[in-house]
Amino acid sequence: MYTPVPIAVVEALRERIRCLEGRARHRRAVLPFGVKAIDERLPEGGLALGALHEVAGGGNGAIDGAAAALFAAGVAARTRGRVLWCVTRQDLFAPALASAGLAPDRVIYVEAGDEKSVLACFEEGLRHGGSHGGLHGGFGAVVAEVARLSMTASRRLQLAAEGSGAIGIAIRRFPAPSPRLPSGRLRPSEPVIGPAKGRTRWTGYGEGQGEGAFPQTQIRDSDSRRRPLTRNLREERANSDLSPQAGRGEGQPTAAVTRWRVSALPSHPLPVPGIGRPRWRLELVRCRGGESACFEVEACDAQGRLALPSDLVHGSGQKAIGQRRTAR
């Protein structure tokens, strides 16, 4: 019969595993979000400092990475020290980062030109970061915009971050799809998947062991308008025996401690014409030592803090996806 294991035994086992893992981290420093719903889903109650995290955009945000950049800016704004931001080509608009709390004096940009250099600069920045040798120095956060992040590269970055204590954020931006014909029509080879009602379609490929794949496309519907795919799915499925995202490197596992996806949602409704505080769907796709979750949050304010939308906090009828319903 099944006998419940006493809690003390489980704790002792956990302690042994922690010692076996080496690098005795008794209590890792964390950067909490300040939102109870998110912090309680993360192990140790916040974003681990001295670790690598990944952020990607959802839907069209996977290409332009605007929401992901603001999310990363909000996180970096709440760290101490300077921020190093590595890109291949510069298209950030600095006033937007300043309105997310990241003052322009704090950020140093590196325009590296190609992926290899970006990863090299990312690693250099992480090595010089955080509580380096006991003194606070170097960079508090290092952000890099990469398209491909292999397992070996992410492991090196994770080791560099652990050595120094800086937080590393990799913004995944995927290359734009092939251009459309000027008349706005689809190219004849692109298949179109039928509409899904207002939410992300998870294909299920590349998902396993609790790690979710980035979806191939975000399909929205209203009045039967069809949004074409960004890749020719049928061809890829035929060509690759792995997940179709393997061609773009989306679903591949990395050594990042957490993996997030940020998609844009309609903003806070105002009683007057105008756009209120923007809202995001923040999905914790993968978390080491925790489970995936999905949150609907309001975007960063001037100090870089997120917030839960007020009508959700007070329990209006909208059901949060994947989140345990809290009693009102």
């Binding site: 945000g61 014909l181 903003s267 756009i275």
Partner: protein
């Protein structure tokens, strides 16, 4: 004899090589002075030294009137070959030197192009020959472009040779019999088959340490080890003088008479042996040791005073972050221009409201005004969109961007941005009306209409998409 003539002299009719008496006849009241060739040569050496500090580690003076620079591996730091050479000529022109420059595969070819190509290329002062093509291109130059004695050139002309290409075809043995081995050697050097080593200019002021090897070394670890030892010696020499180095050159003299060089630069003067060794070792793979290295020379090309400083060891406060080491490493890897910070500029036009400043510049403490929202990504060139909108100040109801039709759910605006008439005349009445729009899926965009909706002179009244909000 007149040695050289500038533009004003040439307009008066004087040319180089003209006898002085003829010149005195052409220009009445001409003041005649003897040429001081040694002072000229000394000035040329000083110019070569100046260029050594700015552009490349291997620079030599090419008497009587030229400077030769070996730019292997430094072109990318200055923005490309063409940009670098043009910048050099412009910088010399700013110091009142009229210069002609050429970039080619070998010293002799570059010498030939600099002096003789301008006459065939419509008076361009900069010639950049694509890599690998200088051997072919040199064939069409006159034989005076080879560095031969004047009487040999005259004799060749008498024999009927005008272009280098004609000489290159002929069998070598009869020419050597008649003119000696020098002709063959010059031809080979011009075509790139033989190489002439450049002896870099040295100066007594520069701090330099060197090391000779009894047995030539070639392995990367050995080079790294000896680099470390040389850097320690150099830092001691710098400390004795109270200076820090901002630019260092490590020159390798190879067994086969070539010279390879590594150059590193730092943002602030530095005397730290470990940091400099690390910067050098990053770049050791870029050189080719060939058959072996005989001599290693390390020179501090640009040194500035670096007095000793007291560091703050207080236990209570945080020490000031010292990231200049990391900035130097990154700058040496990707180039100094690719590392920057943004600073606000007081301008309404969004693409002009930011400017780049050096990463180690002092904190300005200024930031942008935040009453209007700004997009996280700004397109470098605004893209035209098709819209349906009610004039004069309504946001569009529907717009099509990159082939996708979106319906606007909510919008904010207009934010009116006036053109900067004090900068450009064309912007005297130009107006942009910016709107922040959100479509029904939640994506937010920043679009604008070029014009105020009523007056046709304020803009074309076309709509553009300028940025994407997060």
């Amino acid at each position: 004899m007149v040695l050289a003539a500038d533009a004003a002299a040439q307009r008066a009719g004087l040319n180089a090589g003209m006898p002085v008496t003829k010149a005195q006849i052409l220009v009445p009241g001409l003041i005649v002075r003897n040429a001081d060739l040694q002072a000229d040569a000394a000035a040329l050496d000083r110019l070569a030294l100046w260029m050594l500090q700015r552009y490349a580690p291997i620079v030599a003076s090419d008497p009587p009137d030229g400077v030769v620079i070996d730019t292997t591996g430094v072109a990318h730091l200055h923005g490309g070959e063409e940009a670098m050479v043009t910048a050099m000529v412009e910088r010399l022109a700013a110091s009142c030197f009229t210069a002609r420059a050429a970039l080619a595969d070998s010293w002799d070819a570059a010498h030939a192009f600099a002096r003789y190509a301008a006459k065939s290329f419509a008076d361009k002062s900069v010639t950049v020959v694509p890599p690998g093509e200088s051997a072919k291109a040199v064939l069409s130059l006159p034989i005076a472009a080879l560095r031969l004695p004047r009487d040999m050139v005259a004799d060749l002309r008498v024999l009927g040779f005008e272009r280098i290409g004609e000489l290159a075809d002929k069998p070598r043995a009869p020419l050597t019999l008649r003119f000696g081995p020098e002709l063959g050697r010059c031809l080979d050097q011009a075509m790139g088959r033989a190489s002439q080593p450049i002896d870099p200019v040295r100066s007594g002021d520069l701090i330099e340490v060197r090391r000779n090897f009894a047995e030539p070394i070639a392995a990367a670890e050995t080079i790294a080890r000896y680099t470390g030892k040389l850097v320690i010696k150099l830092c001691e020499a710098l400390e004795a003088k109270g200076q820090g180095a901002k630019r260092l050159d490590l020159l390798f003299h190879l067994v086969d008479n070539r010279i390879e060089a590594i150059r590193i630069g730092t943002a602030l003067p530095v005397r730290d042996a470990k940091r400099l060794t690390r910067l050098f070792c990053d770049k050791i793979e870029t050189i080719d040791p060939g058959f072996g290295i005989e001599i290693m020379r390390l020179a501090a090309t640009l040194a500035e005073p670096l007095p000793p400083k007291q560091t703050n060891f207080s236990l209570a406060g945080e020490a000031e972050a010292d990231i200049s080491g990391l900035i130097d490493t990154l700058a040496n890897r990707v180039g100094h221009r690719q590392l920057y910070r943004f600073a606000p500029v007081a301008s309404d036009v969004p693409e002009r409201s930011i400017r780049r400043i050096a990463p180690m510049a002092a904190d300005a403490g200024a930031t942008w005004p935040d009453q209007w929202p700004r997009p996280a990504r700004l397109l470098p060139i605004p893209e035209p969109i098709e819209t349906v909108a009610l004039l004069p100040d309504q946001p569009p109801v529907v717009f099509i961007w990159r082939g996708i039709r979106r319906r606007v759910n909510r919008a904010d605006g207009p934010e009116r941005v006036f053109g900067e008439w004090w900068k450009h005349d064309a912007e005297l009445r130009a107006v942009r009306d910016y709107f922040q729009v959100e479509d029904d899926t939640g994506e937010r965009f920043w679009i604008y209409r070029a014009g105020n909706g009523e007056d046709g002179t304020t803009g074309s009244h076309r709509w553009f998409l300028h940025g994407i909000f997060g």
